[in-house]
């Protein structure tokens, strides 16, 4: 779809501004209604296991060390040390300068996602952002989670955002690119829709809600709008783009609600770690405890899951 939409900067703006609006109350209502689906027994077992396999197990702290990343990776490979039937997660997600450590620990068993482009703020020159990306990829990251320039987006400089995404995608080489919209800063669902389309037509493999570093991260209505966007993009392009909901998803119950959103919005085809991910850290333990309860019949406790 090179060169689409036509008309350069003005064409891009006209396209994005011409997308249908989102009624916020209606979208919130739809997300809430889907949240009342009752997922029990076999469906719950399936959903918990699928959720585990969709987790990008994350540590993105200033105080991360080699030791911390090693512990995270061990957990990613074998989330439940007492139960080998438990699936491993989809990826570990770390800062670019620790991507090499992560890759050494996990081998090829799970993906290594690195955040780059001056995560989380995105406030740096393009040169710096591209170098950040290239270093992470050569250290062993096979997925890159970039942030868009929200300042440019909110001031209407869509071309700048577009060109940055394209450039980062090129710097990724074979690595697959997730574009973080930072929906908490975009604030309106109209902006979320526009940013989703902008990222997709610029070459994103995944669109991601948040950095997890601001007050409002992933929410059901925001994810709903992003799922509608990937569904609609597939209709016009034939390409399926993935969605990652990151930050603020803490319980298995929440995760299952997101899977319901995926199923009833984009469709069953998106229910795979190749097209849907959870960016989370504490979520995994709650999923594991739910899994244990479903298998053993009694409620589990924090001593039965590991702290990594």
């Amino acid at each position: 779809m090179a060169g689409w939409p036509e008309g350069g900067t003005n064409g891009l703006r006209a396209f994005l501004h011409g997308l249908p609006g989102v009624d916020e109350v209606g979208a919130q209502g739809r997300a809430a209604a889907l949240g009342t689906r009752s997922i029990k027994t076999s469906a719950k077992v399936w959903a918990v296991d699928m959720s585990i396999s969709m987790v990008d197990l994350t540590t993105l702290e200033g105080m991360d060390t080699v030791g911390k990343v090693r512990a995270l990776c061990a957990k990613a490979l074998r989330p439940d040390p007492m139960d080998r039937t438990c699936p491993s997660v989809a990826a570990v997600c770390v800062y670019g300068d620790l991507a090499g450590v992560a890759r050494e620990c996990v081998g090829d068993a799970v993906h290594v996602a690195a955040v780059s482009t001056a995560f989380p703020s995105g406030r740096a020159s393009l040169e710096v952002k591209l170098l950040d990306t290239a270093e992470a990829v050569s250290a062993g990251a096979d997925e890159i989670d970039m942030v868009i320039d929200r300042g440019a987006f909110l001031s209407g400089d869509y071309t700048k955002v577009f060109e940055e995404i394209q450039a980062v995608k090129a710097a990724c080489g074979d690595a697959h690119l997730k574009v973080i919209l930072e929906t908490g800063e975009l604030q309106t669902l109209d902006h979320v829709r526009r940013a989703s389309w902008l990222a997709m037509i610029a070459g994103a493999d995944f669109i991601k809600t948040s950095t997890g570093k601001v007050t409002t991260n992933a929410t059901p209505p925001v994810t709903l709008v992003m799922l509608e966007a990937v569904r609609d993009f597939y209709e016009v392009s034939g390409r399926r783009i993935g969605v990652k909901a990151a930050g603020g998803i803490r319980t298995a119950k929440d995760a299952v609600k997101y899977l319901v959103l995926v199923k009833e919005t984009a469709g069953e085809e998106w229910l795979t770690p190749d097209l849907f991910r959870f960016g989370a850290s504490t979520l995994l333990n709650d999923l594991l405890m739910q899994r244990q309860r479903l298998l053993t019949g009694h409620y589990s406790g924090p001593n039965y899951v590991t702290l990594d």
Partner: protein, 481 residues
């Protein structure tokens, strides 16, 4: 592997259904004088749920007498502050027993449990809360400084929202100081009978509320009874006409809430995904058994094809089946008779040249079911564009301009509801100003609230329920209707 939702049934055990119920007269349950009874059935399974009494002339006499006595001796003169407290108690008990009432409603009516649980029962409680607060403030409602009740109200309600329709009738009547005799629909008596128990639990004085179960004849006897001061009816336009003829020349006050053929109008700048939800909600919520259903989709021609395609995709995710399953979206049709009417009208759609599309879903073997259906290529002259189907059948017409949309929307003897979907605020207000409907939803649909008046223009009836406007039906300050 796919994400199939496992069965998630709500438990029936939370409700106790007796095998036989009497009438509720003067605070007690008594069998009909004649001993007549009818059976009420679960429309999803055709299983008999219970036998209820059929009130005859003698029973209607007794109930009206009990209501009159309660009015004269207890309720009519009771300070509003005290009436309020009884109504608050009732509201609270409905909340406390909400799970049980939701299951009972679903069993008797066929509607999905998530609707009884999330819509019917909470709104019923809210109606009692809201009106409880008016009981001691009627002087502020704009009906004079000391408006008086009318006396005894005879109320007849339909089967589509049994407990909610009961709340819409009883709460304002009692708040204003009237006593009532209410006849629930023939096919859905059980939550009204549970409500009678709730009145007992609340310590409501005997005779303030009386519940007479029965069929059309019981309703006729009640409406025509010379001992009542007010008639309130919600149901079909045909029966509304009969009632209006019956009270002509008497001094009985009357309000009617009848049928509709609501137009859901979608402009090309509508928020499309939410408009699709609004269309689905408009006609498939409650299996389309909604007087204010958006049963006509008026879509701007510029986006008709894409909107219909999105709509059909969305209809593919609707889950039809066991109403007690928490994941069911579309429940059973309330009776074989109603199913027959829906099928007849749908057939007329085929015969008259409209194109039928049905959502793919398996229908259970027992019970009465109709899958969500869309007719495109419909014109104003088709029966399916003019007559109320009262089922999950949407008729799609197109328009080019706002003026044309208004003309088509108004071109019906009905005037209950309309929906407007556009991002343009001025257009919403311009359209709302011109649409001849009592309830207009903009960028939403099927929103109800006890503070918000509901009722129709033209043959959809007269009078309003809810809000300040709704109090007028039960107070003597208003002359005329």
């Amino acid at each position: 592997m796919t994400f199939d939702y496992a069965p998630a049934p709500e438990s029936r055990a939370v409700v106790d259904i007796a095998s036989h119920y009497g009438l509720f007269i003067g605070g007690q349950f008594v069998d009909a004088a004649s001993g007549d009874a009818l059976k009420t059935v679960n429309p999803a399974t055709e299983e008999v749920l219970a036998e209820v009494s059929v009130a005859g002339a003698a029973d209607v006499d007794a109930a009206v007498l009990a209501a009159r006595r309660a009015f004269d001796e207890v309720w009519g003169g009771m300070p509003g502050r005290d009436r309020a407290k009884y109504l608050y108690r009732i509201a609270r008990i409905i909340q406390e027993r909400s799970r049980e009432l939701a299951v009972l409603e679903t069993l008797d009516n066929g509607k999905p449990i998530k609707e009884s649980r999330d819509v019917d029962i909470p709104l019923a409680a809210a109606h009692f809360f809201y009106h409880a607060g008016w009981a001691d403030k009627l002087g502020y409602a704009g009906y004079g400084s000391n408006p008086k009740p009318l006396g005894v109200a005879g109320q007849v309600i339909p089967w589509n929202f049994p407990l909610l329709m009961l709340a819409w009738k009883i709460a304002p009547a009692l708040a204003c100081g009237n006593t009532v005799v209410l006849k629930p629909a023939e096919t859905t008596p059980l939550t009204a009978l549970a409500f009678a128990e709730i009145c007992q639990q609340a310590g409501l004085p005997d005779g303030v509320v009386n519940i007479l179960t029965g069929a059309g004849e019981t309703g006729r006897l009640l409406v025509e009874h010379s001992g009542i001061d007010k008639v309130a009816f919600t149901g079909s336009t045909e029966v509304g006409r009969q009632i209006m003829r019956a009270v002509a020349g008497t001094s009985k006050r009357l309000t009617l809430e009848l049928g509709g053929k609501g137009a859901n109008i979608v402009f090309d700048d509508a928020p499309i995904d939410q408009a699709v939800e609004g269309i689905v909600n408009g006609i498939y919520f409650n299996q389309g058994h909604v007087c204010c259903a958006g049963s006509r989709l008026l879509v701007q021609e510029t986006i008709a094809d894409t909107l219909i395609a999105s709509l059909k995709r969305r209809l593919g995710t609707l889950r039809l089946g066991d109403p007690l399953d928490k994941n069911t979206d579309i429940g059973a049709i309330n009776s074989a008779a109603q199913l027959g009417r829906i099928m007849d009208l749908a057939r007329s759609g085929d015969d008259e040249g409209a194109e039928r599309w049905t959502a793919p879903c398996a229908l259970p073997d027992r019970g009465w079911w109709f899958p969500p259906t869309v007719f495109t290529g419909v014109s104003q002259a088709h029966r399916i564009a003019r007559e109320e189907i009262f089922g999950p059948v949407l008729s799609v017409l197109t328009f080019r301009t706002p003026d044309e949309a208004v003309e088509k929307a108004n071109n019906t003897p009905y005037g209950l509801s309309a929906g407007i979907w556009t991002e343009k605020g001025s257009r919403i207000l311009w359209m709302a100003d011109r649409l001849r409907d009592g309830v207009i939803w903009a960028n939403t649909f099927n929103r109800f609230d006890p503070t918000s008046p509901f009722g129709g223009y033209k043959e959809s009836g007269f009078g309003r329920e809810g809000g300040v406007a709704g109090l007028g039906a039960y107070l003597s300050a208003e002359e005329g209707r």
